[in-house]
Symmetry: C2
Subunit: 405 residues, 2 copies
C-alpha cells in the first residue's frame, strides 16, 4: 500500500470536534449533551438572507466569477466603509469561508518553511492551514492572568528570526474572546512595518464586542497598505456558518494578484451562498444590537457562573463568543472526555473543547477549557451547574489552592 503524506499523519485532530464520538455515545445512552465545544450559534440567520435564496429565479446554478459576484463585492465595500474600513470592491476577494481566505493568504505570501508568529492560545485550525501551506507556526504565549492580552512587543521581537514572514492575530479572539486594545494593535503595526512582515488579521468576530465599540480593524491603522491582510467571514456575523462565504481583503496589489490565481484554480465561491450573503448586507443594526445583548447575557451567565465555582478562574472576555476557563484539574483532555463518558447531572452533561489543542507549545492549556456561549441563558446555566457538579466528583480534581500556584 502506498504511504500517505507526512502532513496527513502529523496534522492534529481538531480539539473542537475530536471528542464527537464520545458525545454521540453519551447521546445514545440518553444523556443530553450541552454543546459548548463549537462556535455554531443558534441565532436565526437574517430572514432576508434565507428569503433571497428561497426567491431565487435562477434556472442554471452557474459559476460566479472567481473573485465573487460584482454586486456582492460592491456591497461588501459599502459594508466595510460602514465600519470605518476604507476599501474598494477590487480590494476584496470573495472566498469559500474565512478558512479559504486564510489558505489563500498563506499561499500567496509565504513559502514552505517560512515562519508565522501567532499569539497562543489560537484557533486550532490555523495548524491545519499552516500544514496545508507547509509553514511553521511560532507561538508567543498570552496568559489567562491578564485576560489573554496581546503579549508585549518584546516577546514578538524575541520570536522573530530570519525565516519570519508574518504575524497572525485574531481580534476579537478565538478561543480567548479577547478584544485587543487599540494601542496594542498600533504597536504591533509598528513592529510589522519595522521588520517588513505581513500581518494577517482574522476579524470574523468584529461585531461581537460587548463594551460599546467594535474591535479595531488592522486596515484602519495608517501605513499598513502593503502589510495588512484581513481574513473575514459571514459565518458568525449573520449566523450563517453553513454558507461558507468569506473574504480576503488587502490593499497590497501583488498579494491580490497572487491570491486571484489560487481563486481561479478553484473556479468560484458558492453561488447560492453569495446570494444569501449579499442579502445579509442589508441587515438592520437592530439585528446586531439584539444579538449583542443576547450574547452579553450569555457571557455573563457563563463567566459569572464559572467564577462562582471554587478553584475556577475565568477572565471576562470582551468579544467573540468564547471564554477560556482554568479548572482545578491536571488534564483538560481527560476531563472533557470523562464529562462525556462517565458523568451526567440531572440527565445532561457538557461538551467542551480542551484548550491544549489551541496552544502550539506542548504542555500548555492542560488546566484550561474553551467554552462557546452559543446557547441560551437557561442552557448556559444548566451547563455551569453541570461543570460545578462534575468538578465535585471528578476523581482527578485538585484542591483550589494548588491551581493558583
Amino acid at each position: 500500500m502506498p504511504e500517505i503524506s507526512m502532513k496527513g499523519i502529523q496534522m492534529p485532530d481538531s480539539p473542537i470536534r475530536k471528542l464527537t464520538p464520545f458525545a454521540n455515545a453519551a447521546k445514545e445512552r440518553g444523556t443530553h449533551v450541552i454543546h459548548l465545544n463549537i462556535g455554531q450559534p443558534d441565532i436565526a440567520t437574517p430572514v432576508a438572507s434565507m428569503d433571497a435564496v428561497r426567491n431565487t429565479d435562477r434556472q442554471v446554478l452557474e459559476y460566479s466569477p472567481s473573485e465573487g459576484f460584482a454586486s456582492y463585492r460592491d456591497g461588501l465595500a459599502r459594508y466595510y466603509r460602514g465600519v470605518g474600513v476604507d476599501v474598494e470592491a477590487d480590494q476584496i476577494l470573495v472566498t469559500t469561508g474565512g478558512s479559504e481566505a486564510l489558505v489563500f493568504a498563506f499561499m500567496s505570501c509565504l513559502n514552505p518553511g517560512d515562519e508565522v508568529i501567532i499569539p497562543e492560545p489560537f484557533y486550532a485550525n490555523y495548524n491545519g492551514f499552516a500544514a496545508w501551506a507547509g509553514i511553521q507556526i511560532v507561538p508567543v504565549t498570552a496568559h489567562l492572568s491578564d485576560g489573554f492580552a496581546l503579549p508585549p512587543m518584546a516577546q514578538f521581537e524575541a520570536a522573530i528570526t530570519e525565516r519570519t514572514k508574518g504575524i497572525l492575530i485574531c481580534n476579537p479572539g478565538n478561543p480567548t474572546g479577547t478584544k485587543y486594545e487599540d494601542s496594542s494593535l498600533v504597536a504591533l503595526a509598528e513592529l510589522v512595518k519595522a521588520h517588513d512582515l505581513f500581518l494577517f488579521s482574522d476579524e470574523v468576530y468584529r461585531e461581537f464586542s460587548y463594551d460599546g465599540s467594535m474591535a479595531k480593524s488592522i486596515l484602519t491603522v495608517p501605513g499598513m497598505d502593503d502589510h495588512a491582510l484581513v481574513i473575514d467571514s459571514v459565518s458568525k456575523r449573520y449566523s450563517m456558518c453553513g454558507a461558507r462565504i468569506g473574504a480576503l481583503v488587502t490593499r497590497n496589489e501583488a498579494v491580490r494578484k497572487a491570491a486571484m490565481k489560487f481563486a481561479m484554480a478553484r473556479l468560484s465561491p458558492p453561488t447560492l451562498a453569495q446570494i444569501a450573503a449579499e442579502a445579509a448586507l442589508d441587515t438592520p443594526s437592530a439585528y446586531f444590537e439584539n444579538v449583542r445583548k443576547e450574547y452579553k447575557s450569555r457571557r455573563d451567565a457563563l463567566v459569572e457562573g464559572l467564577q462562582g465555582i471554587s478553584g475556577v478562574e475565568c477572565p471576562t472576555p470582551g468579544g467573540a463568543f468564547y471564554a477560556v476557563a482554568q479548572l482545578p484539574i491536571e488534564d483538560s483532555d481527560h476531563f472533557c472526555q470523562w464529562m462525556l463518558e462517565s458523568f451526567s447531572h440531572d440527565g445532561h452533561t457538557v461538551m467542551m473543547a480542551p484548550n491544549t489543542g489551541f496552544y502550539a507549545t506542548s504542555g500548555l492549556g492542560k488546566k484550561e477549557v474553551r467554552m462557546a456561549y452559543v446557547l441560551d441563558v437557561p442552557e448556559i446555566e444548566k451547563a455551569v451547574a453541570c461543570v460545578k457538579a462534575a468538578l465535585a466528583v471528578y476523581p482527578f480534581s485538585i484542591a483550589s489552592k494548588q491551581v493558583s500556584e
Copy 2:
C-alpha cells in the same frame, strides 16, 4: 514591502480565464462573444434541485458535518452503486467542488517534491493544485493524431522515478474529451499496483459519453482498493457548477482519515448547495438521455464543422463536452487573443482556450485550441463559421500542407 510567495509568482494564469479582459473589451465594442472557452453549460439545473433550495425551511444556516450531511452521503453511495461502483457512505467525503477533492487527495497522499505523472494535455487547474501542494507534475504526452488516447504504458514506465508517488487521469478527459478504453484503464491499474502508486481518477464527466456506455470508473477495477481515489463533482453532471459540491471517494482508510483532518480544518462544505445536490440525486435518467442527446448534436455540429475547414484537424471526442482542434496557425495564444481583439464576423467572435496552457511541456499545443461545446447548435454553427472566416483573414495563418508536416 514584504515579498509575496514563489508559488504566487510562478503559478500560471488560467488559460480558460486569462483572455477575459480582451473578451470584455470586445463586448464593449459591441461584438457578440461566443464563449467556447469555459465549461459552463447552459443546460438547466434539475428543477427538483432548485426547488429543494427554494423550499428550505431552515432558520439557521448551520455548518454541516465536515464530511457532509449523512443523508447526502447515503444518497451518493446509492448513486455510485447505480453506476456500478460499490462503495459505502463512509468511503465518501463531500467536498467543496471537485477542486477541493483534488486538493485533499494531493495533501493526504503526497509530500512536497513528490511527482505525479499526468497525461498531457490536462486540465490546466491541476497546475494550481500541484503548486498548492508543492508537488511536481511529470507529463506524458498524448497525441491529437490518435484522439489523445491514453499513452502506452512504456511511456508511463519511462517517466517513473523514485519520487513518483501517483498518476492522475481525467476520464472522460478535459480538455481532450477522450474516453479511455477499458483495457487501457486495466493496464494502467496494473502499472499502479506494480509500482505501489496512487491513482487519482477525475471522473466528473462520467455521464457525458456518446457511445452508449459510461466511462469505466477506476473503482470498478479489481485490486485497486488501496490505490484508487476518485475525484467527483456535481458541477457538470447536474449543470450546477456554482453549487461547489464534489466528493473524494476511496476505499483506502488511511487516506480517508488524513483527508478528514483537512476537511475538519475547513469546517464543512456549503450547506445550501448540499441540499441542492441531494435533491439532484433523484434526477430521472430521462434528464441524462436528453442532455446526452443535446451534447451529441452540439459535438457533431462543432467537430464536423471544424473538420470541414481546410487545414483544421479535430478528432471526434467520445465524452465530456470539449474538443481540441489543431488549426493552421503557429501560436494559439496569439490567435485566440487576436480573435477577441481584432476580428469579428457578422458582429460576433469566438472565445477559445489556447491549448498551450493545458500542456506541461513547453512548446506543445501552439497549434491547438480547446473548445467547450456548451452552447446550442445554432451558436456552435455561428462559432464554426466565425473560426473559418477568421482563419481566412488571420495574418499568421499557415498553408494547410505545412500543418500536417
